[in-house]
């Protein structure tokens, strides 16, 4: 068994046995749903349905119903796409990068963070599929043999790279998540009493039994998938950023975009993980597994990535001035002082200034403060994408094309709808799926559990006397 330093704080609080962990994880699945769950689900479904209505209206009438116009041809669609994809990145970061770094605190949060990734990428996909204008022709995006002669897709285009990156990212994340879920489904199957539950979890667990050979393959698969997902997650947002960076639009044509987008993605993703987990740990009473220490670790990631994002903003400003290119200088001047100055101010305050408050230990271990901050960061990151897209496009080379952008109710409706969809799926996930990777958690109980750590410290003291 692995030994862990005594000065590390325990990751599982209270007196737990293996069986107790099982009981705590299946409680939300086997028990009755609370009225909060039903309330949240109702609100989410209403938003979701409203989104579907707006979506149908868009498909039926055309994207003219959006606020996008001749100058500002990318607006909320791409803003929301980048925002959702960015949110997804934290899940992969937690489950893959932290696995490679052997960070054990990931085990309490990786399952729900990965679920968040999958649902967020689904929301993002809605916007990319819709923004083409004729979504029923979206199969044109794939290199399929077709009836127009040999008209292939253009592999030199970053938009094409995006198709491959996002679809690979979604499917690989899904496989990674599901493989991790199999042993936990088996645990639920083995204790299910109701015949329907037994059958469903039996199907989902695909006959898993926990044989030593299977565990050894399972661990190898997790490790290799983590190794593959790590460069994948960095590539996805880098490629998303090249959608902008390879264009010749001032303000977009910058080499800083890939690292800056990746840092921003992790930043916003961790904020969303915090929003979800702070509610989840309260409703499902998982305080012993998702401890204050876990929250603190995530807040530290937020300071680091928030600071990287801050440095990137300042670097952009400096380089635009230093480049001596007046179009570039104007693009940034316009972002900060132009008609959308308020969006820029919002972005700067939420993303650069507010995370710095987490330097105080008191604040980053305060749950209510963290919750409020996590929402502020998400708002800030949405505005970041808005600032990159809309103010840039509303003031391009030709002043005669300059115009303002105003979202319509359809823009707002589809965005609200994706938020509704995201929460609907997440709430269903928390109700029917094991929200914590209990098998993994059991493997660290003796090295990182509070009771075992105290016992080890006690025997260590006695040995010294």
């Amino acid at each position: 068994m692995q030994h862990e330093s005594e000065i590390r704080e325990p990751l599982i609080l209270g007196k737990k046995s293996y069986h107790q962990i099982t009981e705590d994880i299946v409680r939300p699945i086997e028990g009755k749903a609370t009225k909060y769950w039903y309330m949240l689900l109702t609100v989410s479904i209403i938003c979701f349905l409203w989104g579907i209505m707006c979506l149908c209206y868009t498909i039926g009438t055309g994207i003219g119903v959006w606020g996008s116009n001749n100058g500002v041809d990318w607006a909320w669609d791409i803003t929301n796409f980048v925002w959702w994809i960015g949110i997804g990145h934290a899940g992969t970061l937690i489950s893959a990068v932290l696995l490679l770094f052997r960070q054990k605190w990931r085990m309490a949060i990786n399952r729900s963070a990965e679920a968040m990734t999958i649902f967020a990428v689904m929301c993002a996909a809605i916007f990319v599929l819709l923004h083409t204008g004729r979504p029923w022709l979206d199969y044109f995006l794939f290199p399929l043999p077709n009836q127009f002669g040999s008209l292939w897709v253009n592999f030199n285009s970053p938009l094409m790279w995006d198709v491959f990156a996002v679809s690979t990212y979604f499917s690989v994340s899904l496989v990674f998540w599901y493989t991790g879920l199999v042993p936990d489904f088996a645990m639920i199957r083995d204790r299910a009493v109701k015949p329907m539950a037994k059958k469903m979890y039996g199907l989902l667990s695909m006959g898993w039994g926990g044989s030593a050979r299977h565990w050894s393959r399972f661990e190898e698969v997790s490790l290799v998938l983590a190794g593959l997902s790590t460069p994948l997650v960095f590539s996805v947002h880098s490629i998303v950023s090249t959608d902008f960076a390879t264009s010749v639009v001032p303000g977009w044509h910058t080499t800083i975009f890939p690292p800056y987008f990746v840092a921003g993605a992790v930043f916003s993703g961790f904020a969303m993980v915090l929003t979800l987990l702070l509610i989840m740990r309260k409703i499902y009473r998982l305080e012993n597994y998702i401890t204050i220490k876990h929250i603190e670790y995530m807040n530290i990631v937020i300071i680091v990535t928030g600071s990287i994002v801050g440095v990137a903003y300042l670097t952009e400003l400096f380089i635009s001035w230093y480049s001596g290119v007046e179009y570039e200088q104007y693009a940034f001047l316009n972002r900060a002082t132009g008609p959308y100055w308020w969006a820029y101010a919002m972005m700067m305050t939420c993303n650069v200034v507010s995370p710095q408050l987490f330097w105080s230990k008191k604040l980053r271990t305060n749950l209510m403060f963290t919750f409020v901050m996590s929402i502020i960061v998400n708002i800030g990151m949405w505005f970041e994408r808005f600032v990159i897209i809309v103010p840039t496009l509303c003031r391009t080379f030709l002043p005669s094309t300059w115009n303002m952008y105003h979202p319509t109710f359809v823009d707002i409706g589809i965005y609200t709808g994706t938020i509704g969809m995201f929460f609907t799926f997440f709430l269903l996930f928390t109700r029917y799926f094991p929200v914590i990777a209990q098998a993994e958690l059991k493997s660290i109980m003796k090295s990182s559990g509070q009771e075992y750590k105290e016992k080890a410290a006690h025997s260590h003291d006695e040995a010294q006397h």
């Binding site: 068994m1 565990w215 393959r217 493997s443």
Partner: protein
């Protein structure tokens, strides 16, 4: 000579590990072990050869790289070379920087899915498969060892298991 299959159940992973080691040193073969979570070193102690699934992943990955290269060469250079934005596609090596992202994505796609499919099929984890653990408690908090031996070694084995800390012993 008739054979007996023994299911020994343990309450913790340490006695299971110790038992596996003592049985192996006494010349018994461990058929399988079922644990609720991965017990590190158990596969080595049981003498299970290291899984070669990572090698499969490498081969699938290389296949993905080749497929993507071939596809992009065929579509962009061979079948219908287009000149987009003054960047003609005369030869593969001229455009290769623009092809790297998709080559990479395809490598990851094939490696990840190929390995996952291999894992599920090799372990026969398919929808509708029967649960492989003989005792449902082994996904919760019990640890089980399955040993197959000849009838005459039964007594010897049982005493080894008992001293090793097995809480229950069942004959199948």
């Amino acid at each position: 000579m008739s054979k007996v299959v023994i299911h020994a159940i343990y309450d913790d992973e340490e006695p299971l590990m110790a038992s596996v080691k003592s049985l192996r040193s006494n010349g018994f073969q461990i058929k399988d072990a079922f644990t609720p979570f991965p017990v590190h070193g158990l596969d080595v102690a049981m003498g299970v050869p290291r899984t070669r699934i990572a090698i499969c992943a490498f081969i699938y990955g290389i296949t993905g790289t080749c497929l993507a290269t071939l596809m992009m060469w065929y579509m962009m250079v061979h079948d219908w070379p287009t000149d987009v934005g003054g960047k003609p596609s005369f030869a593969y090596y001229m455009n290769v920087p623009a092809f790297i992202p998709i080559t990479f994505e395809s490598t990851v796609l094939c490696a990840a899915h190929g390995m996952a499919i291999t894992f599920y099929l090799r372990s026969w984890l398919v929808p509708g498969a029967k649960a492989k653990n003989p005792d449902p408690r082994t996904t919760d908090d019990k640890f089980m060892m399955v040993v197959e031996t000849k009838e005459e070694n039964k007594a010897n084995l049982e005493s080894l298991l008992r001293t090793g800390g097995a809480s229950e012993i069942h004959y199948k």
